[in-house]
Amino acid sequence: MSQAGQPMIETAALTKRYGSIVALDGLDISIPQAAVGLLGANGAGKSTLIKLLLGLIQPTSGSATMLGMNATRDAAHVRERVGYMPESDCLPADVTAADFVAHMAEMSGLPQRAARQRANDVLYQVGLDEERYRLIRGFSTGMKQRVKLAQAIVHDPQLVFLDEPTNGMDPQGRGEMLRLIQRIHGSLGITVIVSSHLLEDIERVCDHVVMLDRGRMVAAGRIDTLMRGGGDIVVRVDSDQSSLVAALIARGVAARVRERDIVIAPGGERDAIYDAIRDAVVELGLPLRGLQAGERSLEDVYIQTVGGADVARGKETVHAS
């Protein structure tokens, strides 16, 4: 069992190969008790990572620990304490939501009476009240997503994997789903791992992010830390901005004038940029009135770390693997 403050998930050189294809390549990650976004393009290894952590497939090498237990050796025990909401359709058509979620609670070891009670409570929490007695066949996409979420948390897991939780939902339903996810972590203290291609969703509900690219981790940490200081560098001097821009360009720094400021786009060694600014200002004898590093969006972070060309906000994609 994971102790307070200990990572909920830890992997050490976790590798998974399918023949000559390397799905995960020596992954070392540590995921705290938090709301964590799992980002990566198609084939980045997100689904493989989730399957490995759930003990559904065996690693080629390396190890993974979940909730303090070995994810491979103690897979069944791990899964008792973990919830999973798959991306794809996974609900039986000719069953009521109440019956199905109660059955899933029993499948996680809850006694029959408790399972039925929990199912009713959780379905109410996800916004399915009277509808829970209807056959799932008649549900909208949004309602099905809620049932999927309900079955993932009905047994009160310590950690829940949500794979594309807003998939196919309209804007209103998407907003409600994101609020539910925020509550799951914020109010209930359940560690949430959201695998999504929607950067906006991740930015809204997660406080940590793990970015994967071709089976490797390319960035991980608190989102606010990753976003901090990585944006444009803004320099303000009282006069002679054009001379300063020329001096910076001469030092290899891509600077331009924007209204009263000089703006330097992120790229290259930031310490070297700061050195160049200092040297240019001293050389020109200009009074430096302001120097500020702007914040990046999660999209900027993703583009700069992964270099993904198909990153987009909203409905567009960083394709989910």
């Binding site: 065996q58 609900l91 000719d94 499948m107 070891g109 047994h155």
Partner: protein, 291 residues
């Protein structure tokens, strides 16, 4: 006097928010039991639309009616002919064949087609547990038809005998044969049914493949038997499902048996074991092999 004015609380606010669960967790064995019960209910159409209940109900009526009628005849016309268990077996094995055609896809096909399997395997159970639960659920349901009518007839015979205790003692062998026959036919049809259901995702198609396949193979093997000669043709019965069942019935319960079954009794078990092994390999390939 109103409760409010009497200083009594007149209402309460309940926190309907999500609560953590701190009750008992019964583990994997409970999950397997839950899956068996759930699968049995679905197999019988319980908590499903009324149309799902029609076929199981008709099959139970078809399987139990002859036994009830025979028991009635024995009760009211005790001097008439003694009905053999083999005479009931024809009705029962036909009901079992149709029951298996409907049950096996209900056990496996939907879970795979609707991807519910992904949710099951993300729970405490393993793929082996899942398969064992499904096999158990199907065999239990099949057993209610395979054993029930025959046991009903056996009990009727015991109760209607001049000396029930001595009749029971003298006919324990009948009980053994009834149980052996029921178990073998259950396992045989369950194995073939689940193998088909493991390969076909649509329930209707799986049922049609099961029934059609059994009838077709039986017809082909019968033709093969007629067209060939020599001792090898005696073994054709082992791959001819309906003839094999009839042969086993003839061997264990008496009656006419199969026209192409000329082997000694236990040899027929080779056909059953082969079917079980083939089904096991198919299910292993479909459920246990890593992607």
């Amino acid at each position: 006097m109103p409760a409010e004015s009497a200083g009594q609380p007149y209402g309460e606010v309940y926190d309907l928010g999500y609560k953590h669960y701190d009750g008992e967790r019964l583990g994997r064995a409970h999950a397997i039991r839950a899956l068996i019960v759930w699968s049995m209910k679905r197999g019988l159409g319980i908590r499903k639309r009324w149309t799902s209940k029609i076929m199981p109900a008709l099959l139970y009526v078809a399987a139990y009616s002859p036994a009830l009628i025979v028991a009635g005849i024995l009760a009211f016309l005790p001097t008439q002919v003694d009905f053999s268990y083999g005479s009931l077996a024809g009705f029962i094995s036909m009901a079992l064949l149709i029951f298996a055609a409907g049950l096996a896809p209900e056990m496996l096909s939907d879970d795979r087609r609707e991807n519910v399997l992904a949710l099951y395997l993300a729970r405490a159970i393993t793929p082996v547990n899942y398969l064992l639960a499904k096999i158990a659920a199907m065999i239990i349901l099949m057993a209610t038809i395979a054993f029930g009518p025959q046991l009903l007839l056996f009990i009727a015979k015991v109760l209607l005998a001049d000396n029930p205790l001595s009749y029971f003692g003298n006919h324990l062998g009948d009980l053994g044969r009834i149980i052996a026959w029921g178990a073998i036919i259950c396992v045989y049809y369950t194995a073939i049914g689940l193998a088909v259901a493991a390969l076909v995702d649509r329930k209707g198609i799986a049922s049609a493949v099961f029934i059609g396949g059994i009838l077709l193979i039986t017809a082909i093997t019968n033709a093969l038997f007629d067209a060939t000669s020599g001792t090898l043709r005696d073994y054709i019965v082992l791959i001819s499902p309906i003839e094999l069942v009839q042969s086993i019935t003839g061997w264990l319960l008496g009656g006419s048996g199969s026209t192409i079954g000329n082997l000694v009794g236990p040899a027929y078990l080779v056909g059953v074991v082969a079917a079980v092994i083939a089904a096991g390999l198919i299910m292993q390939r479909r459920y246990l092999a890593e992607e």
